[in-house]
Symmetry: C2
Subunit: 174 residues, 2 copies
DNA sequence: CTGATGTCGTTGACAACGCAACCATATCAG
DNA sequence: CTGATATGGTTGCGTTGTCAACGACATCAG
């Protein structure tokens, strides 16, 4: 009944490596929900909304193209449209035409948005530290970064993988 | 390469450890979507639906309580109700009263459900192998299991605004 | 310039999920 | 037994997300 496990290249339904996958799923779900919940309770922002504010806030001029935002926040085009709709309704973001491309739209952070972003960042960073970083040793964090990168590459649907479009970690404006 | 960032206990917005968090999010999103998409295309099942079938199919008698299912599939009570609704509509599952508890309902796998599960398992296991397991060395997989367990523990228990949670309840050492 | 084609963002229709309210039943105090 | 309370599951409703279709603009061949 017991199949020898890590012997061959084929994964079977009883392979303990499947357990790792499930643990991974569970960790993500719990972590995401906890961070989302804390942001909602303390600042009225969902985690995706917060992440959008972060991306806008760290961009030069504090404005970002919608398409760029979609990649960063891991959402579809229409998802971003509606996310920005909400942030506009809340007064945290304004829409602005793109100067170079008349088709394009940019999301611009308002002063209120910047303020809210700064406040929420405290909560978020605390959460990341508490539930994520502090659970991992420095070497484990390193390993995690490497492995997640590898997984991301393999699962990357259509190209776009690891384009490392992350220059200027100028962090939050201050 | 890896600069030691562990200078202070406080996470700031420019801390590279935040990058690990984003990579983690991205890896999850891509992996989940890829596996979901493959299951849908080849078998008409979403990933949560497939996971529910797995949980039912591996249980004794191939029947599971709804509440138990909710924990396994990482869904709310109502989420499970509707997930099972769909599977019932597809003929893969039947509802059945629980013999011990007249309040309870159990989901039972139908022959068609078992058949579909077996077929889909091939696809899923292939995906897990291709995009997840094969991206990780044996030791990395081990590290991942341990760290995800730790994250899950910290984020899962109810220590929202207050205190760090007690370490290691029991059962999961090391 | 003009038409073909691709890209950007929005919209409508819809699927999936969570929360809170709700029954039905279990369980426990008295 | 009886009433109070807790638990399992479903339902109504709101929220959030995707996909396909669309209009507006860009871009390039001719």
């Amino acid at each position: 009944m017991t199949e020898s496990v890590t012997t061959g290249r084929n994964l079977t339904a009883s392979d303990p490596r499947l357990e790792v996958w499930r643990t991974f799923l569970q960790a993500h779900a719990r972590l995401f929900r906890r961070l989302d919940e804390e942001l909602r309770e303390e600042h009225g922002l969902s985690l995706p909304e917060y992440e959008a504010l972060v991306q806008i806030g760290r961009a030069p001029e504090r404005r970002v193209r919608m398409s760029h935002l979609a990649q960063q926040v891991l959402l579809s085009k229409s998802g971003v449209t509606r996310l920005i709709d909400r942030l506009v309704a809340d007064g945290f973001v304004e829409r602005s035409a793109c100067s170079h491309d008349a088709r394009g739209a940019e999301a611009v952070l308002t002063p209120a948005g910047l303020e809210r972003l700064r406040a929420a960042a405290t909560t978020h960073l605390r959460g990341i530290d508490r539930y994520f970083v502090s659970a991992l040793g420095a070497d484990e964090l390193d390993t995690l970064a490497r492995t997640m990168q590898a997984v991301s590459l393999r699962a990357g649907s259509d190209a776009a993988a690891g384009e490392a479009c992350d220059p200027v970690p100028d962090g939050l404006p201050s």
